[in-house]
């Protein structure tokens, strides 16, 4: 708009029109140059001033620290940041603006993570004082409603998976897988077969936590590579299954989005060898109400409530996991379980064969409440519809992305995928020298992104997209248009892509520093010691 002088005419409707937006948004991230919270504040600054206790309270309680053994008592106060409430709020809001969170962008680029919308109304339930302000050691008689919620959620998940019992104690997906492995170990210990059965079989494209949890529990891991069609190689399974097999831990569909139609045969082969079968349902979002672990013959399964059942993810809020088992494995479930006698709900800890507690108390209760609310709001038919839309969205996006120059869809040529697709930019990389990772970073200049966590790196230049049911057709069109634009740039102006992101807070992080124990620093103290080279006062 040009500047007007007093002699000019009155503003027109044209002047008042809001400037038209470009087809692709020119996103620009806020940059606050914010310091770490440990570098902020002033000694003595406080967010809350706790009033001194009344003299009679002091007289009655005495010195509470006196009850602590010497070894647990501090000699110096902890070196915590000292800030007022507003300073803390502002700090974290600023940091959040330097992020591309799930509530801001079309977050389909974190394939395998199932980034669906976590309805805000469910946060109201989680924040209700009857959830948020109860203490885990409160008597069961005072938390009947909460126990009922957990009990009913177990019932819903039993129905969804077809299993006989479900534990909601695990902290998240990997915690649930670990719990399943612990139950497998306890099962074979009870049968006197633990020494003989020291192997766990998984597949290359299964959720990588399967191999990790099995190893953590002391098992040897046997991996089945993909066959030419991208299915786990059944001939490799025939060679692997035997008297040493404790279990098969497998994801279906796998992280390629390919559903293994021979899964019953896999389960049968392992059962014939005397092993158990655990269904990793991290990718359950496309099969809710369509297939169940029980009908495929599995003995155990797990869900990530923060994926399939819409609760926030571990990095943006606590996760939550669930383990389902058949009657035969039920004695090994974590304790306590929630039981109902027709009148009262109670916590049952007297479970002698239990693997013990995998998390203090009763799991991530706020997320159990959110997952319960989500399932109840949809109902059985709604769950199936959610799965169907997730698959439809994925195949819609697949059709659009397939049109982009330089992309390919390895394995199972021409066939549809379930809820996600592992694409390859191999051709684009050969033509232009631009890597998949660089395309994902350039997408950030348009307000979205994708990441390239694709262990193991069997698919060259990978990109995994999982749109879930949450995204509209317009969202998916926008996402595909961004990818098409970034790919075009890779062919025509590769330098722009290689040096991206250009409109973000931090252009490039030196990722090598994350690869070495000498330089990674996940705490302030570690940062001071390893990077700044100073010992923090009060470490002793």
């Amino acid at each position: 708009m040009s500047a007007r002088t007093g002699s000019e005419a009155e503003p027109t409707r044209e002047d008042a029109r809001i400037a038209e937006k470009p087809a692709l948004r020119r996103f620009h991230q806020a940059r606050w140059d914010e310091k770490l919270i440990f570098e902020l504040g002033t000694p003595g600054e406080r967010g809350v001033t706790v009033p001194a206790p009344e003299p009679e309270v002091v007289a009655a309680v005495g010195d509470p620290a006196a009850a602590l053994p010497d070894a647990l008592r501090r000699t110096a106060p902890p070196a915590l940041p000292e800030l007022g409430q507003q300073q803390v709020l502002r700090h974290y809001l600023r940091l959040s603006q330097q992020n591309l969170g799930a509530d801001l962008n079309v977050d389909v680029g974190q394939g395998t993570c199932t980034m669906k919308y976590a309805p805000k109304v469910n946060d109201c339930f989680a924040r209700d004082p009857r959830v948020a302000e109860v203490h885990p050691l409160q008597d069961a008689s005072t938390v009947q409603g909460l126990l009922e919620t957990v009990y009913r959620l177990e019932g819903l998940l039993k129905e969804i998976a077809g299993m006989d019992r479900v534990s909601l104690q695990p902290a998240a997906g990997s915690s649930a897988i670990w719990t399943n492995v612990a139950m497998i170990r306890a099962y074979f210990a009870a049968r006197g077969e633990s020494e003989q059965r020291d192997e766990i079989i998984t597949s290359s494209f299964s959720h990588p936590s399967n191999a990790a949890c099995a190893k953590t529990a002391g098992y040897r891991v046997v991996t089945l590579p993909p066959d030419a069609d991208g299915y786990p190689d059944i001939e490799a399974l025939r060679a692997a299954a035997g008297p040493r097999t404790a279990a098969l831990l497998i994801t279906n569909p796998e992280d390629t989005g390919i559903y293994n139609p021979r899964i019953e045969e896999f389960v049968r082969l392992v059962h014939e060898a005397g092993g158990l079968c655990a269904y990793d349902q991290a990718n359950a979002n496309g099969i809710l109400g369509i297939t169940r672990a029980r009908e495929a013959g599995f003995d155990l399964c797990h869900f990530n409530l923060h994926k399939t059942f819409s609760t926030p993810h571990g990095c943006g809020g606590p996760g939550a996991g669930a383990c389902g088992v058949t009657e035969e494995l039920a004695p090994y479930l974590p304790r306590p379980t929630v039981e109902f006698d027709g009148e009262r709900y109670r916590l049952e800890s007297d479970r002698p064969q239990s693997v013990g507690s995998v998390r203090p108390f009763h799991g991530v209760v706020p997320n159990l409440v959110r997952a319960y609310a989500w399932i109840m709001s949809l109902g059985a038919e709604g769950l199936r519809e959610a799965a169907e839309i997730a698959v439809l969205n994925n195949n819609y996006l697949l059709a659009k992305v397939r049109e982009i120059q330089g992309v390919s869809v390895p394995y199972a040529e021409g066939r549809p995928r379930v809820e996600q697709v592992r694409y390859s930019w191999e051709k684009l990389h050969e033509d232009t020298g631009v890597h998949s990772e660089e395309l994902g970073l350039r997408a950030a200049d348009f307000g979205t992104h994708y990441w390239t966590s694709h262990h193991p790196y069997v698919v060259p230049e990978p990109m995994t997209l999982e749109p879930t049911e949450s995204y509209s057709r317009a969202d998916l069109d926008e996402y595909a248009a961004i990818l098409a634009e970034v790919a075009r740039e890779a062919y025509e102006e590769p330098e722009v892509v290689r040096t991206a992101p250009h409109r973000s807070t931090v252009h490039r992080a030196k990722e090598e520093t994350l690869d070495s124990a000498a330089t990674w620093a996940v705490t302030w103290r570690a940062y001071r010691r390893k990077i700044l080279g100073v010992e923090t006062a009060g470490d002793a």
Partner: protein, 406 residues
């Protein structure tokens, strides 16, 4: 700061035979036939593609090169071939001339034959000059090539910058006998080793925040091997009471009266993986040869460096137990019969086929892109006994059930 000096030599006839189905381009006779069949040289074009990529990434360097058809047409010419047709002698002379001009890295455009010539030209030098191949040949089984010309430019750019910690590693130079190949026989062999800059971009990109590094898995494989060797029962051939079945003819290896070694024998095939394994066990071995180690707990001593087939057979006959560890060689995934012929059928029968442990890091296995591992031990019965699905040891307590084909 002195500018980075990049040497470039092009083998103009590399790849000539490929497009016209001649399976190679070695020898002037084949090259003539290729030209007659309409083959057009493209090695220089591919070298220019690599240089273009390098420049587009802002690398600062001085280009030293060979002249005429052996160069890209730019840069300072330090060697000029005589005549219009070039040969292996010219490649070697150009490489030596470039080296004498003090280059920091040598880029060559060619195939396995060119890699072999570069290797031989550098063999008399004590300093390890970093080398990288721009793939333009027909046969490229050597591990010294970038995956394509652009990738060569990318790797060199990263190396010139020195950023991102570009590592150097020893990579195999493989070559096949083309005359035999045209007769239908595959006779690839391990020719030697060159030092190449290594950017694990292809199959080994980082899982965000992850730490999947090869040295760790190699150490895991070493620990696993030591544990397995310790748990072994005696090998059939050294059992005091003769077994009725396996190892009958290998009984001769157990020389009566010879003092029996007390410790398990570990026979290591050649390769970077197995060499790293030896290092993890505390010993240094030649990467091109087959080495016999005596295992004591988690450490080892070399009992037969660069051993011959006969030496290995004799050792296997006297050791209380033996284990053979082999790793796929080159890009083709050969387990036996390429560069490790010392591990022959007699030795395998003596030790027992089930005591051959296939070791391979996950990234190297992934680089096979689903192709099976290959066998060519020279004995069909031995190959058949080893073929099928076998566990490949990929790290501590981890295996991949992988297909091995003859």
């Amino acid at each position: 700061m002195t500018r980075f000096r990049l040497g470039l030599v092009v083998n103009p006839v590399a790849g000539l035979g490929g497009r016209v189905g001649l399976k190679g381009s070695d020898g002037s006779h084949v090259q003539e036939r290729a030209r007659a069949l309409g083959a057009v040289p493209h090695a220089a074009d591919r070298a220019r593609t690599a240089l273009g990529e390098l420049r587009s990434r802002g690398a600062e360097f001085e280009l030293l090169t060979a002249g005429g058809p052996m160069g890209p047409g730019t840069g300072r010419v330090v060697f000029a071939p005589e005549g219009s047709t070039t040969s292996a002698t010219d490649t070697a002379a150009a490489v030596r001339a470039l080296r004498e001009h003090g280059i920091d890295l040598l880029l060559f455009a060619g195939g396995d034959g060119t890699a072999r010539d570069v290797h031989d030209a550098l063999a008399d030098s004590s300093a390890d000059l970093p080398v990288l191949g721009v793939p333009t040949g027909v046969k490229m089984h050597s591990a010294v090539f970038a995956v394509h010309p652009r990738a060569a430019g990318e790797v060199v750019a990263a190396y010139v910058r020195g950023a991102g910690g570009v590592r150097l590693r020893r990579a195999e130079v493989m070559d096949r006998d083309e005359a035999a190949l045209r007769e239908g026989r595959v006779t690839a062999r391990l020719h030697g080793w060159l030092t190449v800059p290594y950017v694990p971009a292809r199959v080994q990109q980082r899982k965000t925040g992850g730490t999947v590094t090869d040295p760790e898995s190699v150490a895991g494989i070493a620990a696993e091997l030591a544990e397995r060797a310790a748990a072994l029962s005696p090998t059939p051939s050294s059992t005091p009471t003769p077994t009725p079945t396996a190892g009958g003819e290998a009984e001769a290896g157990g020389r009566p009266g010879a003092p029996l070694p007390e410790h398990p024998l570990l026979i290591l095939g050649p390769g970077t993986t197995t060499r790293a394994l030896a290092a993890a066990l505390g010993v240094d071995v030649t990467p091109t040869g087959v080495n016999a180690l005596s295992l004591q707990g988690s450490s080892a001593t070399v009992v037969a460096p660069d051993a011959t087939a006969d030496e290995l057979l004799a050792l296997a006959g006297t050791a209380p137990t033996a284990l053979i560890a082999v790793s796929p060689i080159g890009g083709q995934g050969f387990l036996l019969g390429r560069g490790n012929q010392q591990i022959g059928p007699e030795l395998i029968r003596a030790v027992g086929a089930e005591r051959i442990v296939v070791v391979c890091t996950e990234s190297k296995l992934a680089a096979l892109r689903g192709r099976p591992l290959l066998l060519d031990s020279g004995d069909d019965t031995v190959d058949a006994a080893l073929a099928g699905y076998r566990p490949v040891l990929t790290g501590r307590r981890t295996t991949t059930m992988y297909r091995i084909a003859t």
